[in-house]
Symmetry: C2
Subunit: 432 residues, 2 copies
C-alpha cells in the first residue's frame, strides 16, 4: 500500500519550530495538492515537556527523549530547528543513519560540518536541505543550485545579517553612535544580550561559507573566510562615506577570478547607485553576478518566525515530492571543484581611507607618493582642517588596489611621523 | 545501455539561440558534472540555411525542415526560441506528441496557450519549462513554484518590461519627454521600430498572466489582465510624482484578497521608499508578498542574449536531471484553484490625480466633497496657480479607494464645469 501521509519529527519548538507547525496546519490542503501526500507532525522534541505552548493541540506529542523520534521507524523526515552545533550534529547524523531525510535551518552546523553531513546523506540516499540557514525567507540556495546551474557565478555580495544591517541603517539615518544604536537594538530584540556573533561578523561569515560552497562548487570552510565586524564603525565614517556617495554595509563578499577565490565579511563602503546600498533595516539581500546572467539581486526578510519557517516547510515540500518520486538523495550537487584561495596580492578592490595627519606643507604629497610607489592610484582626495586647524584630516578613495599592497601601505603609514592616526580603512564596492 | 548524452533540437538561431549554443559549449564540463550526462545540440532549425553564423561550427547542423528535428527519435529535448505564436505552438505540441521534452522562452505562447501545452505535456509525461519567458535572467518562476511552495502568495508587483522601464527611468532622470526618449531607445535598440507591444503594456501583461497563474495557482488568461501603457505618461506627472515622493513605473500587479484576484498592468506611482522604485534602466524586478514570508524581491536583467539563454539552459539542466532520475512530467503543479476575479468595487488602492480647474473660490471644496461622497479620503493635496494664474492645478493623493468609486468620480468630474481637464490618474503603490 502506498504511503498517504509523511510523518515528520520536529526537533525544537521555539520560534521557528512554532512557525513550522503553524504553516503546516494552515496550508495542509495546499501542501497535499502540491505533493500528493499529507504532512503530519508526529513528534516534537523539547527541553521541557511541562511548559505550556502557544499551540496547545501539540502539547500531547512533545517529548524530551530524542529516541522517540530517532527510533520511530514511521518517521520519514526530521526537521531540526534546535540550533547549536554538537547536539544538533549528533541528532542529524543519527537521523540520516536511520534513513530519515533532514531539513535544517542551522547555519552554524552547516557552515562547520556541512561536508560531513552531506556525505552521510549521500551514503544513505537521504535528502538534506537547508534553505533557511542563509537569508531566512529568501530562496537563494535554490537559485544558486538550480536557477543558475548553467552559469558560472563570479561574485556574490550579501547583506546576510539583519542585526548589523539594522544597526548600520539606524546609524546612517540618524547620525547616531554605534553603542547607542546597539543598546536600542537590544531593547527591541533585534540584537542579542551578547551580540558578539552578529556584530563581529561571525554569523555572516557562516552564511558566506555556505553561499560560496554552493555558488562556486568548492568545499569552503569557515576558517577560509576573512572576518571583520562593525564594532569599530564610527558615525564619522558613515557621514564621510555619504558625502562621497557611499553607504556603509556589513558586506559578505565571495569572489572568483579565474579559479582563485576569496571570501570575506567586513564593513564596506557600497556605492549608493548599487542596489545593495538601499537595503535597510533587518532586511537581507544577496547580489549574484554570473558570467552570462550578469547582475541579479535577491531581497527579503533574513530572519523571523514565519519567513524562516516558510523556507523550512518549502524544503520539506521538496523532500516529500522527492519521496513521492523516489528520488531522494540526489538533489544537491556536492562541491566538486578544487579549492584555490587567493593570495593577498590577488585580492583587488578600491579602498576608502581616513586619517589624521600633521598640518604641514607636503604631507599630502608624501602620502600620495607612498601610495604611488605601491601602484595605488587615487580616485578621490579630500583634505580638510582637523582639531581646530592644528592637524589635517585626509580622506582618500583609491582605484583598484591589491590587499597586500594596501596592508603594506597601512603598516608603513603607522610608522610615519606625519601620520598621527589612521582612523579607518574600508573596502569599496559597487561603484564600477 | 544507459544514455550518455542528451540530444537537443534547437528551434531558432537568433540572439537567444546563439546564446544557448555558446553557454552549452562553454560549460560542457560543468553541465556534465551536474547532470551526469553530456548535452549535445544535434540540429538547429533556421529560416535560411545559407546565412553565415557567428558560431561557424554549427553551420553544418542547421536545417530549414522542422521534421528533421520532430521526426528524429534520438532527439530528447526541443528548445524553442523562434518566438511568435501559431507556428511555435504547432512545433511544441508536435514535439510533445512525440515524447520530447520542451524548454521555451516564449511568453506570448505560454500566456495564451500555456494551459493547452501543459496539459499535453502531462498526458505525454513530458517536461515543459519556461523560466526565460518572464524576467529573463531572474529565476522567478522557480521561486514561485518551489521556494514559496509552503506559503500563500498574496501580492506580486513586477517591473517586467525593460523597454518601458528604460524609457520611464530616462524621463525621470533627465526630465525628458516620452517621445524624445522613445526615439533614443529605438536608436539604441532598446525599443522596437514598432514599440506597441512594449509601450502599451501588452508584453508586461503576458508576463503577469504567467506569474499570476503560477503564484496563485489559478488558470489566469491574458484577457483577465487590465492593461494600460505608458504612452500618455508626461514629464509633468513624473516631476509632480517625485515632489510627492514617488517614481512612475509601469507596474504589473497581481493581488489576491481572500480568494478574489485582480491582475493589471499600468503606469503606477511607486513610493520612493519601496525597493521597486529604484529599479532603473532595462533591469527587471519582481516583488512578491507572501503571508508568511512577508516581502521579498528578485532583481536582474529582463532580457538580453546571455541572461535569457542562461535561464533556458538552466531549464534544460532540470530536464536532463529529471531524465536521469526518470521523473519527467511531474515538476510543475498545474493550476488547481478556481479563478475568481474581483469586481471593481473590490479593487482597492491609493490614487494620484492631477487636474486643471477653474481658479474660483470653493473649487477645492467641491472636489473634496465629491470624493467624500464616494468615501474617498485624502492623504495629500496640493493646489497651485496654472496658466499664469488664470486656472488652478490640483494634485491629490487619496487614501485607499475602490476602483469602481474612483472611476465613478472621474466620470462625474468630466462633466463638472469647474474641472477643465483631468490631466492624469495613477494608481499608487508601495507607500504603506
Amino acid at each position: 500500500m502506498e504511503k498517504q501521509t509523511v510523518r515528520v519529527g520536529l526537533m525544537g519548538f521555539g520560534t521557528v519550530g512554532t512557525g513550522v507547525v503553524r504553516i503546516i496546519q494552515a496550508h495542509q490542503e495546499d501542501l497535499q495538492k502540491q505533493t500528493g501526500l499529507g504532512i503530519e507532525i508526529s513528534k516534537i522534541l523539547v527541553q521541557n515537556a511541562e511548559k505550556s505552548r502557544s499551540i496547545p493541540s501539540m502539547e500531547k506529542i512533545v517529548t524530551t527523549d530524542v529516541h522517540d523520534i530517532l527510533d520511530d521507524e514511521g518517521i520519514d523526515v526530521v526537521v531540526e530547528v534546535i540550533g547549536g552545533i554538537s547536539q544538533a550534529k549528533d541528532y542529524i547524523l543519527a537521523a540520516l543513519d536511520r534513513g530519515k531525510h533532514v531539513v535544517t535551518a542551522n547555519k552554524d552546523l552547516m557552515a562547520l560540518h556541512g561536508g560531513e553531513i552531506l556525505q552521510k546523506a549521500e551514503e544513505k540516499g537521504c535528502d538534506v536541505f537547508y534553505e533557511a540557514s542563509v537569508a531566512g525567507g529568501i530562496p537563494i540556495l535554490r537559485a544558486l543550485v538550480e536557477g543558475f546551474s548553467s552559469d558560472r557565478i563570479t561574485k556574490m555580495m550579501g547583506i546576510v545579517n539583519g542585526t548589523t544591517n539594522y544597526i548600520l541603517s539606524k546609524m546612517s539615518q540618524e547620525g547616531a553612535d554605534y553603542a547607542e544604536v546597539l543598546k536600542e537594538a537590544q531593547a527591541l530584540g533585534y540584537a542579542e544580550a551578547d551580540p558578539t556573533s552578529d556584530v563581529e561578523g561571525f554569523d555572516a561569515a557562516r552564511k558566506m561559507a555556505i553561499l560560496a560552497t554552493l555558488g562556486f562548487r568548492v568545499p569552503m570552510k569557515l576558517e577560509d573566510v576573512d572576518v571583520k565586524g562593525i564594532s569599530r564603525v564610527s558615525k564619522e565614517d558613515i557621514a564621510y562615506g555619504k558625502k562621497l556617495g557611499y553607504e556603509v554595509k556589513l558586506l559578505g563578499l565571495a569572489r572568483r577570478d579565474g579559479e582563485a577565490i576569496e571570501v570575506s565579511v567586513q564593513p564596506t563602503m557600497v556605492a549608493k547607485s548599487h542596489p545593495l546600498a538601499s537595503v535597510n533595516g533587518v532586511f537581507n539581500a544577496v547580489y549574484v553576478h554570473g558570467e552570462a546572467v550578469g547582475e541579479t539581486m535577491f531581497y527579503g526578510p533574513g530572519a523571523g518566525e514565519l519567513p524562516t519557517a516558510t523556507a523550512v516547510v518549502s524544503d520539506l515540500v521538496t523532500v516529500v515530492k522527492n519521496m513521492k518520486l523516489g528520488v531522494n538523495g540526489r538533489g544537491m550537487v556536492a562541491p566538486y571543484k578544487e579549492k584555490i584561495l587567493k593570495e593577498d596580492s590577488q585580492k583587488l578592490s578600491k579602498y576608502f581611507l581616513r586619517m589624521v595627519v600633521a598640518d604641514k606643507r607636503g604631507v599630502l604629497a608624501q602620502i600620495t607618493q607612498l601610495l604611488a610607489e605601491k601602484n595605488i592610484s587615487l580616485e578621490q582626495v579630500v583634505q580638510q582642517p582637523y582639531n581646530n586647524g592644528q592637524q589635517a584630516e585626509i580622506i582618500l578613495v583609491t582605484h583598484s588596489a591589491a590587499k597586500g599592497d594596501m596592508d603594506a601601505v597601512l603598516t608603513y603609514m603607522e610608522e610615519m611621523d606625519i601620520v598621527h592616526e589612521i582612523k579607518s580603512c574600508y573596502r569599496v564596492e559597487g561603484g564600477e
